[in-house]
Amino acid sequence: MSKVMVVTSGKGGVGKTTSSASLGAALARAGQNVVVVDFDVGLRNLDLVMGAERRVVFDLVNVVQGDAKLPQALIRDKRIETLSLLPASQTRDKDALTEEGVARVIDELREKFDWIICDSPAGIDKGATLAMRFADLAVVVTNPEVSSVRDSDRIIGMLDSKTQRAENGDKLEKHLLLTRYDAARAARGDMMKVEDVLEILAIPLLGIVLESPDVLTASNLGCPITLHNPASPAARAYTDAARRLLGETVAVTAPDERRGFISRLFGRRAAA
């Protein structure tokens, strides 16, 4: 049974694309058949982060509009063969997507893949609503700061009302992925604490990714960090998050083990 997972946040720059690529690669490394779909039509980035920018011929818009067949647009990763990318178009805008077209593409992808990861654009407009429309579960990427948390809250409200599952009265799993977390700054009070974010958003925690230059390095090299530097704390956080998505029970630990009490706190709040 394939799963459609939207990676969304409301706010831009919090790490949706990085997280989509990293989780996708981690799931693929775990033996899953994964496609990562870039919904950010007009501002595509996923191809760069996954190192496939020179291999894009057809894109999501071509497939949605019927100008290309799905296999023509899918780009298979060179490092992991169970990982594919469906890029967005850079020359079009979000209006080029239609709900019927996206539904058809998602249905077709469901036949080929175990995981369809929809990398949502920022905002709450058509691109974001179409990215979440057919999702079975959602990963809400949030930074520990008030504006990101409020935008995430808004997106959670939309997940509960604008998705097909919500409209059919079905449950849509939502998971919080806290990125760019800096334990030292949170302890000083410069950043929101994990517990504060969890209290406001009231959804289970999928993982905590510490702020790290490794993540930026990997993005610039066009390689998801879970492949580029699997031993790094950020990669371990994404790998653990992927294992949780696969149903394993893995305690959420702060990769920075200097603060033992934080890991105890996280352990209690781990997503089931």
Binding site: R150, D153, R154, I156, G157, M158, D160, S161, I200, A202
Partner: protein, 222 residues
């Protein structure tokens, strides 16, 4: 339900206060119908001119004036404001200032039960719950940027971080109750307070908010 505002002379001072209000809570007046009550303004001087000036000033601030009250209908005849309905039966602050007669419990048939709305999940940022028929009970938080508007009272079993507007229908009988006050704005019967008004003292407390003879009061339960 319209907001009633009552311009007072001198107009410049009153408008300055209004501007300050608008700056402090930018979206409060957005798309809200406004009724201008001139009962306090009229009787001072130069009635017609000051009323017209005030209406023009409100218009310049993009306020949607849908009616006026407290003046003679003839006053606006022939001006660009002549189309506005004049509600002579509207609330007259002059009359309101007299002590209200004690309210006698009606002996007649009991009022029909007030309908209520129960929301058993968080009200998320950007969501707006409008229930004009009666009370709203929320089990869970109301997020920053969310809004609950009720005809009657609002009960929040969680943190109130957004805005709550109570008493659209019930008026001053309505109250707001919340477990944890972190609200952006609360209003009962058109009287409102923003977080700045109540300060740090009540922040995070379990409180009730009600309207006491035209003034909004907040008090902590413990």
């Amino acid at each position: 339900m319209a907001l009633v505002i009552a311009p007072e002379p001198p107009l410049e001072v009153w408008l300055a206060a209004l501007d300050q209000q608008i700056r402090r809570s930018v979206s409060f007046f957005t798309d809200r119908p406004i009724v201008a009550n001139f009962a306090a303004a009229v009787g001072a001087s130069a009635e017609r001119e000051s009323v017209l000036d005030a209406l023009d000033a409100l218009d310049a601030r993009d306020l949607r004036v849908i009616g006026v009250e407290g003046i003679e209908p003839a006053l606006l005849a022939g001006t660009r404001w002549g189309r506005l309905p004049t509600l002579v039966h509207g609330r007259d602050p002059g009359r309101d200032s007299r002590p209200a007669p004690p309210i006698e419990a009606p002996i007649a048939a009991p009022p029909p039960p007030t309908p209520s709305l129960l929301i058993d999940r968080p009200v998320r940022s950007g969501q707006s719950v409008v229930f004009e028929d009666g009370d709203v009970t929320v089990i869970g938080p109301i997020a920053s940027g969310a809004e609950v508007v009720a005809g009657g009272s609002v009960h929040v079993y969680g943190a109130l971080r957004g805005r709550v507007i109570a008493g659209l229908r019930e008026g001053s009988g309505a109250r707001v109750f919340c477990r944890k006050l972190e609200a952006e704005l609360v209003a009962v019967e058109g009287r409102y307070r923003i977080a700045e008004h109540w300060g740090e003292g009540l922040h995070g407390c379990s409180v009730q908010i009600w309207c006491d003879r035209g003034t909004l009061r907040l008090s902590a339960f413990d």
